[in-house]
Structure formats: structure tokens, C-alpha cells
């Protein structure tokens, strides 16, 4: 069987060959394999130099100071460190946090964990456009709030939150602001010089770097302090102990360098591909794009094909690798909590696909996907009693369904 065409760049990206090359130079005896923390010999010094260059490359992408970059194992760890770290360090000030219902599970589950430890969390509801407004945040901030965590770009629908506006609100209220930027960094400009963001989580594997490495940006001015979650040798200024994985960090540095250098051209190219894909379904009945397209990253688009169930749709697309907007393929059988939070009804949430395109997607890939998806949707609608009823003018809401 021919390998399927990859339309799941929001889940993970392949490593750019330029990145893989740099990484492979940091492994074997002839390479830069030393422990960056070794101070007594050349192997250590050279490894440290490579790590610090990588740190600078990440800092340059975000326009911040390299000393504000803390290496982690990925965005999940960064989210944990930021949220637990702040909540615990500042618990004397208060035990209230604010986040949104459509954050990544790494944020939501961390908040749930803190709730069990006696913290209180407010979960903001996005509008139908998928966005959280600065005003919503302002209204939710209390005397005992220590942290706001609102993501930059949502991973399922691709909408971009106004993190500049939310940052202003938080700074004015003297509340720390954490941003999960796993889906935005390297794709759209992030300028921490101007943004009032105190902590930011990044992952390398969403921007053509390796899995297993990420960073947490921790602002120095005004100073942000946090409780370490990993204890040991006191690496990363005590915030995250553990021997630095030179090859991983070098990989992340290089992918950030490439992302910065090629961002404008890549965004334009990716956007053109996404639009080509979207327009491929323009003339179809009962097809809806989820989330506000005016505030959207180039690479992600979430589309509902009404009256067709998402899992069967994916099943009939063996030559396309993508994910259902709904979590139907998981054991839970629940439709996507993100789409539900937008106020979408369950059946439309069950009918959604997330397409994400990227650096190695071609126009031919997109054209092929359009043709296959159209064919599959038509076939499944022929099989769908709901489509029949829609065509017969039956209002599905008027029927009393037996929920099971």
C-alpha cells in the first residue's frame, strides 16, 4: 500500500533534513557528544557552546533574551512547569487561576490537578468564533488570581487569540500570563519584547524539529519566579534539572532559525494551500468551516461535513492521513470538547475533520485530497438516513431521538 499523504501537521511535523543534519552531528564519538554541564574539558565546553547557540536561536525567534529560555521535554512539560510552578510559588497571594475550555489537555489536566490540591480555576467559554476576548479575562480576574493561561493558537480549529490584548489586561491587574504557543511559534510572528506575556510554552516537533524537546519562556523583567517541578543538579537556573540533551536542543535551535528565516514565504505558501483546500469544498451543500477565518493560522482548517460521521469519513480516506475534529477514534467516543465549547451541536461536531498542511505539502496533494474527500462524503451521504431526511425537508431537531 502506498503511504498516505500527510495532512496532520498540527499533530506533528517531520524533522526538516537541515535540522536532522545538525542533530546528527551531536551524537557519536567524532561529534559534539559532551555533557554541556561538564566544565573541566573541551567536550563539555563545545557542547555548552552548541546549547547556548540553540538557546539564542530560540530567543531570536521570539525576540527575547536567551536567559529567559528554559529547556524542557516539550510543550506539555512547559505547560506543567508554568502553571504548577506559578500556582505553587505564589499560593500565598491567592489560589485562583483562569484558563479556557478549549486549551490543550496539557493545560486543562494540569488545572484539574491543581483543583484537587485546593486551587480554584475559572474556565472561560470561547465565542462561536473560537476566541477568548481580553474583556472576558478582565471580568474573570479576582483579588486572589495569580495566573491566566490562554493559548495563542487553538490546535483543533487554528484560531488566533488576541494575546497582546489579554497580556495588557493581565499586566494591569498584576496577574501572570502564560501562553501555550505550541501551534503558533514559528508559524506567525511572536514578539515578546512588545507582548505582555510572562510565560510561553513551545514545542520543537510542531515546527520541523524533533519530538521530546521544548522550551518554557520565563520573563526576567518584570521578574517571574516559579516552583521547580523537576529537582536535581540545578540546571536551567534551578527551574528544570536534568542533563541537557545537546542533539535535541541543537535541533530545536536550528528549526527556530529556519522558521524565522522562512516565516513570511512559508506562511504565504501554506495559506495558499489551505485556501485551495477550502475552496475545493465551496460548492458543496452543508459544509461548514469552524472558527473565525479572519483570525487563523495558515496551516490548519477544521471543516464539518454535515450528516456524515467523522470516523467513517476518515475510514474511507485511507490515502489521506488526518484527524477527526472529534475524538471519536479514541475510546471515549465523545465529540471534540473544543467544537462543543464553540456551541456547536453534537452531530456537527461528530462530522468534523481537521486538515493541517505544512512545509512538504504540495498542490497535487491538496487536489488529490479534495477529490477523495468529496467522493467519500458523497458516498457516505448516500448511506446516511440523516441526509435523506435533510433532503426531504425534515427538521432533525423536531425528532425525539433515543440517546444511547
Amino acid at each position: 500500500m502506498k503511504a498516505p499523504v500527510y495532512f496532520d501537521y498540527a499533530a506533528t511535523t517531520p524533522v526538516d533534513p537541515r535540522v536532522a543534519q545538525k542533530m546528527s552531528e551531536c551524537l557519536v564519538t567524532e561529534g559534539n557528544f559532551g555533557n554541556p554541564a561538564s566544565r573541566s574539558h573541551k567536550f563539555g565546553w563545545e557542547a555548552e557552546e552548541a546549547v547556548e547557540l540553540a538557546r539564542k536561536q530560540v530567543a531570536d525567534l521570539l525576540n527575547c533574551d536567551p536567559r529567559e529560555i528554559v529547556w524542557t521535554s516539550g510543550a506539555t512539560e512547559s505547560d506543567n512547569l508554568a502553571i504548577k510552578g506559578i500556582a505553587q510559588f505564589y499560593k500565598g497571594k491567592g489560589k485562583h487561576l483562569i484558563t479556557s475550555k478549549i486549551e490543550h489537555k496539557a493545560v486543562l489536566d494540569t488545572c484539574r490537578h491543581l483543583e484537587r490540591d485546593g486551587y480554584e480555576v475559572t474556565y472561560l467559554e470561547p465565542g462561536e468564533d473560537g476566541l477568548i476576548t481580553p474583556q472576558q479575562v478582565a471580568d474573570a480576574i479576582r483579588e486572589d488570581t495569580t495566573l491566566v493561561s490562554i493559548m495563542h493558537v487553538n490546535n483543533e480549529i487554528g484560531v488566533i487569540n488576541d494575546i497582546a490584548g489579554i497580556g495588557e489586561v493581565c499586566r494591569a491587574a498584576k496577574v501572570f500570563y502564560h501562553v501555550d504557543a505550541a501551534q503558533s511559534a514559528g508559524k506567525i510572528p511572536v514578539d515578546l519584547e512588545t507582548l505582555k506575556v510572562d510565560l510561553m510554552s513551545l514545542s520543537a516537533h510542531k515546527m520541523y524539529g524533533p519530538k521530546g524537546v521544548g522550551v518554557l519562556y520565563v520573563r526576567r523583567k518584570p521578574r517571574v519566579r516559579l516552583e521547580a517541578q523537576m529537582h536535581g543538579g540545578g540546571h536551567e537556573r534551578g527551574m528544570r534539572s536534568g542533563t541537557l540533551a545537546t542533539h535535541q536542543l541543537v535541533g530545536m535551535g536550528e528549526c527556530c532559525r529556519i522558521a524565522q528565516m522562512e516565516m513570511a514565504s512559508e506562511a504565504a505558501r501554506t495559506l495558499a494551500l489551505r485556501e485551495r483546500l477550502r475552496q475545493g469544498f465551496d460548492d458543496m451543500e452543508e459544509v461548514y468551516v469552524n472558527g473565525d477565518l479572519n483570525a487563523h493560522v495558515p496551516g490548519i482548517i477544521n471543516i464539518s461535513f454535515n450528516y456524515v460521521e467523522g470516523e467513517s469519513l476518515i475510514m474511507s480516506l485511507p490515502e489521506i492521513a488526518l484527524s477527526s475534529g472529534s475524538a471519536c477514534t479514541s475510546a471515549s467516543l465523545e465529540p471534540s470538547y473544543v467544537l462543543r465549547a464553540l456551541g456547536m451541536n453534537d452531530e456537527l461536531a461528530h462530522s468534523s475533520l481537521r486538515f493541517s498542511v505544512g512545509r512538504f505539502t504540495t498542490e497535487e496533494d491538496v487536489d488529490g485530497a479534495i477529490e477523495q474527500v468529496r467522493h467519500a462524503v458523497e458516498k457516505l451521504r448516500e448511506l446516511s438516513p440523516l441526509w435523506d431526511m435533510y433532503k426531504d425537508g425534515v427538521d432533525l431537531d423536531s425528532i425525539e431521538w433515543a440517546a444511547h
Binding site: Y307, V308, E309, E311, S312, M315, S316, S326, C328, T329, A331, L333, P335, N345, D346, E347, H350, E382, L383, S384, P385, L386, W387, D388, L396, W401, A402, A403, H404
Partner: protein, 129 residues
């Protein structure tokens, strides 16, 4: 998730897709499930004067296993008496299609669908007398 060959076969070549006129006295219709749950099955049977199911048709909104379960069911009920058809158990369907535990509810829905279709036909029959 990997699908069994039996599910793939029914999914790719669904048997007896379609719709009968549900006003027809010979037809029993069972519609079960809910769009909100991600599964809706409509199973219809055509019953002759001897109480034998002559023909069956289905349409299903749902995952591949739901489509396969209803497709298989239309094959199984043809030629059976109403009593016989109403005896079909979800476990038989699940076994035939090698459904994983997380998809057992699809076979349950199929069992509900044939029971509902038989009941609908019997109601119509009773109303005629």
C-alpha cells in the same frame, strides 16, 4: 484503529442500501440511535403474507462498524420469520464482524434496529384488523 476484514468488506461494499416507502403496509421501519451520539440506523423490512421477511434495506449514519453491523443485519434477516429475526443477538453480530469492545454498542444498536422494525410492522398489521 485497525478494522477487521469483515468490517472493511461491509463498509466498502455495503449490502442492501436504500429506502422503502415507510407508509406501505408491507414495510416495517426501525430507526434507532441519535445524531448527537454519532450513530443513527434506519432498518426497513419487507414482509410477505406468510410473515417472512422478503427484503431489507438500511441507511446508517455512524462509524464503519455501525455501517457494517447494519449491512450484515440486512443480509441475515432476509428469508427469516419475524420471530426469528427478532431473536438475532448483538453478540452474534459482534462476533461475525470481530468488533473490538469499544464498538460493541454498534452491534447493540443493530439488534435494537431489527427489533424496532419488527415491532413497527406488527403495529401496522394490528391496525389493519
Amino acid at each position: 484503529m485497525a478494522y477487521s476484514d469483515q468490517v472493511m468488506d461491509h463498509y466498502q461494499n455495503p449490502r442492501n442500501v436504500g429506502k422503502f416507502d415507510d407508509q406501505d403496509d408491507q414495510i416495517g421501519t426501525g430507526m434507532v440511535g441519535a445524531p448527537a451520539c454519532g450513530d443513527v440506523m434506519r432498518l426497513q423490512i419487507k414482509v410477505n403474507g406468510e410473515g417472512i421477511i422478503e427484503d431489507a434495506k438500511f441507511k446508517t449514519y455512524g462509524c464503519g462498524s455501525a455501517i457494517a453491523s447494519s449491512s450484515l443485519l440486512t443480509e441475515w434477516v432476509k428469508g427469516r420469520t419475524l420471530d426469528d429475526a427478532a431473536q438475532i443477538k448483538n453478540t452474534e453480530i459482534a462476533e461475525e464482524l470481530a468488533l473490538p469492545p469499544v464498538k460493541i454498542h454498534c452491534s447493540v444498536l443493530a439488534e435494537d434496529a431489527i427489533k424496532a422494525a419488527v415491532e413497527d410492522y406488527r403495529k401496522k398489521l394490528a391496525a389493519q384488523v
